[in-house]
């Protein structure tokens, strides 16, 4: 919904939130349902109602629990029945510098302030440990914003007795904890408040009148920033950028002006702005964001522009370059299909409002932020939070290479007559075996972002996945696939729970980047093998339809399972007699942990 995209009109959202909520809830979209416990050190009511809007717009339907006023610590340490039964999927601890128990005095000695710091930090650490032990779910914790006055003036930041100094040190301790602890995310209100304007943000009227730790008008910015972390944790980040060229990546029109006259590089201020923007875009590659071009241009001109000696981005940086005169919505739909991602995982970046409108109208869910003036490009994209980083795995670093290899594979496919010949020519090797600790993070990440090849769409937090890993009630498999073009990384996860001689499948997912490679059959072969070793006679699997997983509706049938039931909503249950199964994969060499 346009009204909730950055840069949004905060006053409008605050005023119209009731009708915005009605509109969102009646748009017929399917959303992830999540329970969010908000443990506040100040009033949270309006924060929660606005956060709900942003989350609904991001594809998540939240149910909130809110602490009684300022009861965050008590709730975390000694949760009441309501919170205990609430079963949060995420806990958000909304504390601010108003909640710091004791600041240093100007008369304190350094050791006394050190002690104070440790004491304050211990209070938080104790709370985080209690929450993660009890609820085993991700925690979002605010850092602290700067104080609204400086008793010592400029010295307040550098002197150990200054509040500013004390807050900075406390923040550093939070970051240390965060870097050592999984499933723990800092909500950077120190940055957001500075960006908003600390003077307005911390207007004491709102604290003294309403016990809000930020000004009323800043609530949408704050709620949006927090919602971005939540949506990222639950796998709702975007995956790719589709970039226009003329007046988006450089100034001018390469086809009309000629390569030598486009604005990019160090010559003018405008050229420098585009240079800075290209730098910003290129850095996304390392975050695992896929870069593609979508431009109305002759391909020759587009490539010439990208080869401009002063430019940062080169043709090689893009997985796909669509430079033609087709409608852009068609090009983006094709890009999505070639990358095996959903169109809604793409952010379309174009300076032309007409192009943005047509793409948004034709492809539901594709974001096309308002790119108005090159000097605003970075800020607009950055603050939109499309690619908010929460987990970051080795695979992210390599993603661009992997997808590029995919495009090469597709080119080779065209030269084979028989598909199996083609698959054999890929020289595929897989490791398929029980989980190992090194991959738990990637396995969890997959469970949260695989939507299409996913029969149950069951999501796991890292803590839940670790529980599955530690228990002997499960048969677990991960699959990692390599071929002659490169390493695809961990691409498939299968989890089944044992019940006597039956194995009930809880998860069967695969990354779409390895579709049609018989990887699913290789996984099935190994699963059956493990079942035989452990005396399992029957494998039972369910398919739960969602808006996105239509491609696996008949997966179990394809596997040779027999359908035993189907309800009105299309949920189906299947079973396989282990004894009847014969090996299916002939194209992938399969290895176990340790012998790859």
């Amino acid at each position: 919904m346009f009204e909730l995209e950055y840069p949004f009109d905060s006053a409008y959202i605050m005023k119209k939130r009731k009708s915005i909520k009605k509109t969102l809830l009646s748009d017929g979209s399917v959303r992830l349902k999540k329970n969010i416990a908000v443990l506040g050190g100040s009033t949270t009511n309006d924060i929660v109602t606005v956060m709900e809007l942003f989350l609904l717009n991001m594809g998540i339907e939240p149910t909130f629990y809110q602490s009684e006023y300022a009861q965050y610590w008590q709730d975390a340490m000694f949760p009441g029945e309501e919170l205990q039964n609430f079963n949060p999927d995420i806990v958000f601890i909304h504390t601010t510098n108003r909640n710091i128990t004791e600041f240093p005095n100007v008369t304190d000695k350094p050791e006394e302030v050190d002690e104070l710091l440790e004491k304050e930090f211990a209070r938080y650490k104790q709370m985080w440990n209690a929450v993660s032990e009890r609820f085993k779910c991700p925690i979002i914790q605010n850092n602290f914003e700067m104080p609204f006055y400086r008793l010592m003036g400029n010295k307040d930041c550098s002197d150990y007795r200054g509040r500013e100094n004390f807050i900075s040190r406390l923040n550093m301790k939070f970051y240390e904890y965060s870097s050592q602890t999984g499933n723990f995310y800092i909500n950077d209100i120190n940055y957001i408040s500075a960006s908003y304007g600390l003077k307005e943000w911390s207007n004491p009227l709102y604290w003294n009148m309403y016990k809000y730790a930020l000004c009323f008008a800043a609530i949408p910015e704050f709620a949006f920033n927090t919602a971005n972390i939540v949506k990222s944790v639950f796998g709702k980040n975007k995956k790719a950028l589709a970039l226009d060229l003329d007046n988006t990546l450089w100034g001018g029109v390469v086809g009309d002006d000629g390569v030598e006259h486009i604005q990019i590089g160090q010559e003018t201020g405008v050229a420098q702005s585009y240079y800075e923007f290209q730098n910003y875009i290129k850095a996304h590659k390392d975050l695992g964001i896929m870069l593609t071009v979508c431009s109305k241009n002759d391909e020759e001109n587009a490539i010439a522009g990208l080869n401009h000696p002063e430019g940062v981005l080169k043709p090689d940086d893009f997985i796909i370059v669509k430079a033609n005169w087709e409608n852009k919505d068609r090009n983006i739909a094709n890009t999505a299909a070639e990358l095996n991602i959903l169109p809604e995982a793409i952010v379309f970046v174009d300076d032309n409002p007409a192009e943005r409108e047509i793409v948004k109208a034709q492809l539901q869910g594709v974001k096309a932020p308002t790119m108005d003036g090159v000097e605003n490009y970075i800020q607009t994209l950055d603050r939109s939070g499309f690619f908010e980083v929460t987990t970051f795995s080795e695979d992210d670093l390599k993603r661009n290479e992997m997808y590029k290899a995919n495009v090469q594979r597709a080119a080779q496919q065209a030269t084979f007559e028989n598909y199996e010949d083609y698959l054999l020519s890929l020289d595929m090797n897989a490791v398929i075996d029980d989980f190992i600790p090194m991959y738990i993070q990637r396995i969890t990440q997959l469970s949260n972002k695989s939507n299409q090849f996913n029969v149950t769409t069951k999501r796991y937090t890292t803590a839940e996945m670790e529980e599955v890993f530690a228990s002997d009630e499960y048969i677990r498999l991960y699959g990692k696939l390599t071929d002659k073009f490169g390493d695809n990384g961990v691409v498939s996860v299968v989890i089944g729970k044992k019940d006597g001689t039956t194995l009930n499948m809880e998860l069967w997912l695969m990354s779409c980047r390895v579709l049609k490679r018989d990887m699913e059959l290789a996984m099935l072969d190994t699963l059956v093998e493990k079942c035989r070793e452990q005396g399992i006679e029957t494998i039972k699997g369910c398919y739960y339809p969602t808006a996105k997983n239509g491609m696996v509706k008949e997966l179990y049938k394809f596997f040779g399972f027999e359908k035993i039931s189907e309800d009105e909503e299309g949920n189906t249950v299947w079973q396989l007699n282990v004894a009847d199964y014969t090996k299916r994969n002939n194209v992938i060499k399969v290895h176990g942990n340790g012998d790859a």
């Binding site: 006053a11 605050m14 005023k15 119209k16 009708s19 009148m209 009323f216 008008a217």
Partner: protein, 79 residues
């Protein structure tokens, strides 16, 4: 701006905030007359009124306003 115009614009703000097109406020309207007007919505209402008229209420005023008439008096004195 005339008092009449203020009431007209204020009425729209009330309708937006409480998401109810049937609301008609006059000088004697109080929180008791509008179902959802509780202390939590009060802050939302104040913010929307401030935004609409480009004014700021003082801290004391926010808690002591008795009815819409008083709110309009303050608005009149600020614009």
């Amino acid at each position: 701006m005339t008092e009449e115009e203020i009431y007209e614009r204020l009425n729209e703000v009330f309708q937006d905030v409480f998401d109810d097109d049937t609301i008609e406020v006059d000088d004697l309207t109080t929180a008791d007359d509008i179902d959802d007007w509780d202390s939590l919505e009060h802050i939302n209402l104040i913010a929307a009124v401030e935004e609409e008229f480009g004014i700021k209420f003082k801290m004391g005023e926010v808690s002591t306003m008795k009815d819409v008439g008083e709110m309009v008096d303050i608005i009149m004195s600020r614009i």
